[in-house]
């Protein structure tokens, strides 16, 4: 084996070892997913295909929001080892509202979002190699036109 090959191979092994280390969290913001306008394209981009509907995801939000500019949403997840949560509003110009990575936090998120119109809020959760999903309808009186 030539020295150069050896160096290349060993650096690849080192990288593999780093990424395989438990607790090493390598996450990036999926810039493109925060620009896409279609739910299907976002799911495809993030590999979140065919989520199973699950009662283990609870979305708390008002049935009726006077002001779409500030809607308090709480997502509580009761699924084994949830790693990631995607929160989307289907009527927003940019549907992806949040992409959450749980490292050492409980699988709960409280967040203020904007909803452009009466919307279905979708929460998708990645747990043990599978995507799960839940949906909640929020009627919006005055839209919080935005992303």
């Amino acid at each position: 084996m030539r020295r150069r090959d050896f160096l290349e191979n060993s650096s690849a092994l080192l990288l593999a070892a780093i990424f395989a280390t438990p607790g090493f969290a390598r996450t990036v913001r999926e810039e493109e997913a925060f620009r896409i306008g279609s739910l299907e394209a976002i799911y495809s981009r993030l590999g979140a295909r065919s989520p199973k509907e699950s009662e283990g995801i609870r979305i708390e939000a008002p049935d009726v929001a006077e002001d779409g500019g500030r809607v308090r949403v709480v997502v509580r997840i009761d699924l084994p080892a949830p790693e990631r949560l995607l929160l989307l509003g289907d009527r927003n110009p940019i549907p992806l509202m949040a992409d959450v990575h749980f490292l050492k936090a409980e699988p709960v998120l409280e967040i203020d979002v904007r909803l452009a119109d009466t919307s279905r809020v979708h929460a998708l959760v990645f747990s043990r190699g599978q995507w799960y999903g839940a949906t909640r309808q929020v009627q919006v009186i005055a839209g919080g036109c935005s992303g």
Partner: protein, 129 residues
């Protein structure tokens, strides 16, 4: 708008079974899309001109104001990453975030680190009570 305009009010409270962390960031969360109400004012073309510069929203459209929004909020407990929240302009102006951390103890250092679409970053730290 500069980094010093972003204020963070944060509290970390030890509760049964863990710690509750809540933070409110004062931030315009300006998506750049027209018609949006920012700090009590509807975005207008005059304001856009007065602030100068062409602007393009994340969807690629020409906009009335330069977009300015949070892209990431992360929490570290005693220096260890606990949760990372990547967000887009659909997060509210002056948004509130709430999290729960297991095994929280009084005295834990809770640090919030944010980033925005302009590449700016900042942080705030509190001690769990």
């Amino acid at each position: 708008m500069t980094v010093k305009d972003i204020l963070i009010r944060m509290m970390a409270r030890v509760v049964e079974g863990g710690m509750q962390v809540r933070a409110q960031l004062t931030h315009p969360m300006d998506s750049g899309l027209p018609g949006q109400v920012i700090q009590g004012r509807v975005q207008t073309f005059d304001r856009y001109l007065s602030e100068g510069g062409a602007a393009v929203s994340p969807t690629g459209r020409q906009t009335l104001s330069p977009p300015h929004y949070l892209t990431e909020v992360r929490l570290e407990i005693n220096g260890e990453p606990a949760i990372i929240v990547y967000v887009g302009p659909a997060v509210s102006q002056d948004p509130l975030f709430g999290w729960r951390i297991p095994h929280g103890r009084t005295g834990d250092r809770v640090r919030l680190i944010w980033r925005n679409n302009l590449g700016e970053t900042g942080h705030a730290e509190v001690i769990a009570q």
